[in-house]
Amino acid sequence: MKAFTRHTGVGVPLRCSDVDTDQIIPAAYLKGVSRTGFQDGLFAAWRAREDFVLNHDAYRNGSVLVAGPDFGTGSSREHAVWALLDYGFRAVISPRFGDIFRGNAGKQGLLAAQCERADVEALWDVLETGPGSEVTVDLVEQTVRAKDLTVDFTIDGYTRWRLLEGLDDIALSLRHARQIDAFEAQRPSWLPTTTT
């Protein structure tokens, strides 16, 4: 995974709550068997509308998405994270994330930064009064800066550490291989297996 320390890019105000992962990438785009090429599916239904924020020239090359509460609810599809990354996003800001989405983002190096709702609204105001404004998301300081505005964000300490170091989760878990072996050795024999 690519390490994340800080990122500066165009902020995109998405004034919506409950952006479920079906909206982030509709099911029709989930049929790929490789990890790349999901950018066309990003907000596919909404991008068909001329007035959707990503269809405005100022926001087209955005890389920091600022969304309302409950972003990434619903389906577990990691394709939602891949679609955001493949499009060019590096960070998403929201007052609250769907649990599975937030976990998926952390595994893939997409920063899911949780901000107070009032701060998200303040960011929206900045980005809408100055379309195309840049936003800096700083994982070391845990701040979001846009023009004169600086707000804090929260993220769990473990995900922050892994993102800063760019660490692979599986390799971290495999450091405990001996404990996994020991745990397996004492599992009760009545637990089911799929083979017998």
């Binding site: 409950d18 619903g74 473990y158 892994r162 996994i180 637990l191």
Partner: protein
Amino acid sequence: MGRTLAAKVWDAHVVHRGGSDPDDDLRGAAPDLLYIDLHLVHEVTSPQAFDGLRLAARRLRRPDLTIATEDHNVPTTDIELPIADAVSRTQMETLRRNCAEFGVRLHPMGDLEQGIVHVMGPQLGLTQPGMTVVCGDSHTSTHGAFGALAFGIGTSEVEHVLATQTLPLRPFKTMAVIVQSRDGTLPTGVTSKDIILAVIARIGTGGAAGYILEYRGNVIEQLSMEARMTICNMSIEAGARAGMIAPDATTFAYLAGRPHAPAGAQWDAAMRYWSGLHTDADATFDVQVHVDADALTPFVTWGTNPGQGLPLSERVPDPEQMSDEGERCAARKALAYMGLQPGTPLREIAVDTVFLGSCTNGRIEDLRAAAAVLAGRQVREGVRMLVVPGSMRVRAQAEAEGLHEVFTAAGAQWRSAGCSMCLGMNSDQLAAGERCASTSNRNFEGRQGTGGRTHLVSPLVAAATAIRGTLSSPTDLN
């Protein structure tokens, strides 16, 4: 200090306690590493995970704790023919290749056990109390009905479980949802689907984010296993990754004799663990929610998230009357998408499609309930009704009971098993502007097809709606 059911199952699966290494403090709140007892796999969220294993030259640690089926993409008609959609076909062929290469048991299309992954696990007896169960699908919460800790994971986590049979997890908070009535029964025409829709409307789609739910109370205790699965299934629609119900005599009776349930002395040993799987009397939950089941009536959604629901007897709400600005905006947007006017009685909303199926309501009891309403009646002209059993075994059982004849005589379409119109990855989709009463779990924009409009309902409401052509409950038929 007593422990909750969730804590007991969690503690029994800790391989490595977060923060217990000297260097762990470098990482802040390090997660616990939990062992996973059962990993369910399907074609949509697994290809990149198997690729990841190959790229890193990692083996699949426990093929014997892994099982796969084809559900999201499969057609529900002409299943003996090659799949017409080339992209869907590639995804299923990829799953078949991966399962062959890594030695994973697969129930492919046409197999008796094939079906929605969350119907397959329980019907095989693979889902048992006190287990940890994961799948790259958010409705894995279904298996919590057995007192298992079961939750959906992303593809990176699928790869993680394939490689290590563990997952690093941060502790959750707990929320008790206590459903009670005077005598533990539900009012006539009210089902477990109505309970969970009412709960989600109450706490919202993010209300349980970060929590494990435990459903309790005399009503839950009297529910069948299948009704419990319906409730746990939709925990994720309230934002909870997992929902659980303590195992009891109902659970054990359901399990006994299933292909993978323990038998003989193994059963006795399992029972010793299972019988301790309940929240201790002196344990506390972080939050408690009480539901008065005597006051419940059939519940339907009017909007574009599962929290936007009301009793069927109500009217489409007026966004301008909502005090919260966020809710008001969401409701305006939802009504525009749904093509609904504030003040319209929900009972007057006409549908053109009825979908009976999904991991929420595609089990035999759901089919029986709907068939009982449809028997001797006709699906209204101009309405198409799809009946999609959750698995081929459910389909076979329904046919043995003659339910398929009830459905076809009423004018409904009797299909093969799969996720089907719940998410429209196959050709079972709504056209733009079409309106569906659906027993599935999500009414998101475009969920059942681009521009399609979904009202979530129980199987009883689905059947009555098919007959009347507008959102209805069986009592409206008299």
